[in-house]
């Protein structure tokens, strides 16, 4: 405990930790945002073209089985970035999260009742508008269930990135292990957990705000 106080007592250290925290947020949430867009597009393709679905979802499963450390290492070779480029982490996590979200998005779109999409078409919606204003909003609850898993998983995976030298709170773990000093490790764990909780809370709040219709129960009169 005394160690911890001493460790955090240094303003320079606190400044460094804050930078790491911000970097951690950036590295874990940017992929989340990008992959929502990608997964919605790919989920739509799976929903729309049945034959594509098997291939794409199969590929997504395979991607998901590749260990994260291996992916961080492979990406520079594949796209020619520097080994220590933090974009490697962003890209790797985008790939994971997209693989995670595509199936639920596609399933959620499949689950929109046909009479609702048919009614929309019959009222004169064009396909893109129908997708954005009818089908996608109805898939939001499922999308957010996936996002909550994805955000927690990204926040923990960013720490792994520290092993190949990218930033984030994971640096506290590598530093702590190297110098056999417990304080940074504890700070790292606590901040990672707090971050995951806060992001999850924000996602839940955002979902509630986007889907007021989903929380009222039918009061048949």
């Amino acid at each position: 405990m005394g160690d911890l106080v001493k460790y955090l007592g240094d303003a320079g250290t606190r400044g460094l930790i804050l930078d790491m925290l911000l970097e951690h947020i950036y590295l874990s949430l940017l992929p989340l945002v990008i992959s929502v867009v990608l997964a919605v597009a790919l989920g739509w393709v799976c929903h729309r073209f049945g034959w594509f679905r098997g291939a794409l979802l199969g590929a997504a499963n395979i991607v998901y089985t590749v260990p994260s450390l291996a992916l961080f290492a492979i990406i520079p070779a594949v796209i020619g970035t520097q080994v220590l480029d933090i974009n490697n982490v962003v890209i790797a996590l985008t790939v994971y999260t997209t693989a995670l979200l595509t199936r639920p998005v596609s399933d959620a779109l499949d689950a929109v009742p046909v009479q609702i999409t048919a009614a929309a078409t019959a009222m004169g919606f064009r396909p893109l508008r129908r997708f954005l204003t009818v089908e996608l909003p109805l898939a939001v609850p499922v999308l957010f269930a996936g996002l909550r898993v994805g955000s927690v998983s990204n926040i923990s995976l960013v720490s792994v990135g520290a092993l190949i030298g990218t930033g984030g709170l994971g640096v506290l773990f590598t530093d702590g292990f190297r110098s056999r000093y417990l304080a940074p490790i504890i700070v790292g764990i606590v901040l990672t957990l707090l971050l995951a909780l806060v992001v999850d809370g924000l996602l839940v709040a955002l979902r509630q705000w986007l889907t007021p219709w989903n929380h009222i129960r039918g009061v048949k009169s």
Binding site: Q115, I116, A119, G124, F125, R129, S221
Partner: protein, 361 residues
């Protein structure tokens, strides 16, 4: 006006859903497509707003070949109501109703204003506008479905079994409501149902379809019941079609006779005949059987429940049913306020029916 000219729909699997349909739906009428399940009613309907395109033949709406119109634009001018209403669960009732005006580029506030008018038109309280569809009963959802279809004031309305999923009492209310609306709005309505009673109740013209998507008969309901074109139609319109066809004969020829009355809560003399008990507004309360002794003021417990009532000016079917269902054999006639006017016997009604048949030759 909607015109089907030699319209055939063959699906990819070879099913012929509609077979060489020639039919004209007149402007400003309710035309009902009726027939057993799978006979091509929905397919015929959906070809009108191009949810399905015909394999051959032509469909004209107000003289214009619909294949020449961009489907989304065509559809914004054609209201569409389906079973279960198909409301958007993520939009409030008001926004559901405002859908087509918004699609057509109205401002949000103008579209919502129009939607509020429509809720009132279909008889829903304004505060329901803020609710979501799950918070409504089946009947209310169906009304919202109708309001949504009418929002952009389309000249044509397509309705596919809109009332099939609600219970019979609510359904009858919705049918009455539709007839009331139509009297006001004068739309060209195509209404699909598998229920022949619903068809003859609301249709000005009824098209009976048979298996294979063939039009078996297209006629006024009274004609359909009186002169079915063939055995299929005769069978489809049902066993008691003779009785049901009386719905289209008005009862003005039946002379309403006097009926002995007694007053509830007052003393009653003994008598050997059936007497009708009424309250102080002359509303019927039940029958007092011959020879019933009443001590003191007449109480309702001693009365036999009455039969159905018929309102003067309604169909002869109501008059006959009133007579047949009454314990005294006297069918009670009431005025629009429900006050007793008199009574008729089944014999009287039948004599009028016979007379009409003879005069028709």
């Amino acid at each position: 006006m909607i015109e089907f000219r030699a319209v055939t729909k063959r699906f990819d699997d070879g099913t012929i859903a509609v077979n060489n349909l020639d039919l004209v739906v007149e402007a400003g009428t309710i035309t009902v497509f009726v027939g057993p399940s799978g006979c091509g009613k929905t397919t015929s309907l959906r070809m009108v707003n191009r949810m399905i395109d015909p394999s051959s033949g032509t469909i004209l709406v107000d003289g214009k070949d619909i294949l020449s119109v961009d489907p989304p634009m065509l559809r914004r001018g054609i209201g569409y109501v389906i079973q279960q209403a198909g409301l958007f669960p993520h939009r409030t009732v008001l926004d559901n109703v405002a859908t087509v005006p918004l699609l057509s580029g109205w401002s949000r506030s103008k579209a919502r204003g129009r939607a509020a008018e429509l809720l009132e038109l279909v008889g829903l309280p304004a505060e329901l506008g803020k609710r979501y569809p799950v918070q409504l009963s089946g009947g209310q959802q169906q009304r919202v479905g109708v309001a949504r279809a009418l929002a952009a004031d389309p000249p044509v309305l397509l309705m596919d079994e809109p009332f099939s999923a609600v219970d019979p009492v609510v359904r009858e209310g919705l049918q009455d409501e539709l007839l009331r609306l139509q009297a006001e709005l004068d739309k060209t309505i195509v209404f699909v149902t598998h229920d022949i009673d619903e068809a003859v109740r609301i249709g000005e013209k009824v098209a009976v379809f048979r298996e294979g998507g063939i039009l078996a008969q297209y006629d006024r309901p009274a004609e359909l019941l009186a002169r079915p074109a063939d055995d299929f139609v005769a069978h489809f319109v049902g066993k008691d079609r003779g009785y049901r066809s009386l719905s289209f004969v008005d009862a003005s020829g039946v002379e309403v006779g006097a009926v002995p009355l007694v007053q509830v809560s007052e003393a009653v003399e003994p008598s050997g005949e059936w007497r009708l008990a009424v309250d102080d507004r002359r509303h019927p309360r039940g029958w007092l059987a011959p020879g019933t002794t009443v001590d003191g003021p007449l109480v309702e417990d001693v009365l036999k429940p009455g039969g159905s009532l018929f309102e003067v000016g309604q169909s002869i079917r109501g008059a006959l049913d009133a007579a047949l269902s009454s314990p005294s054999g006297l069918g009670v006639a009431v005025d629009a306020e429900g006050a007793v006017v008199g009574a008729v016997t089944a014999t009287q009604v039948l004599a009028v029916i016979e007379g009409l048949r003879e005069s028709r030759g």
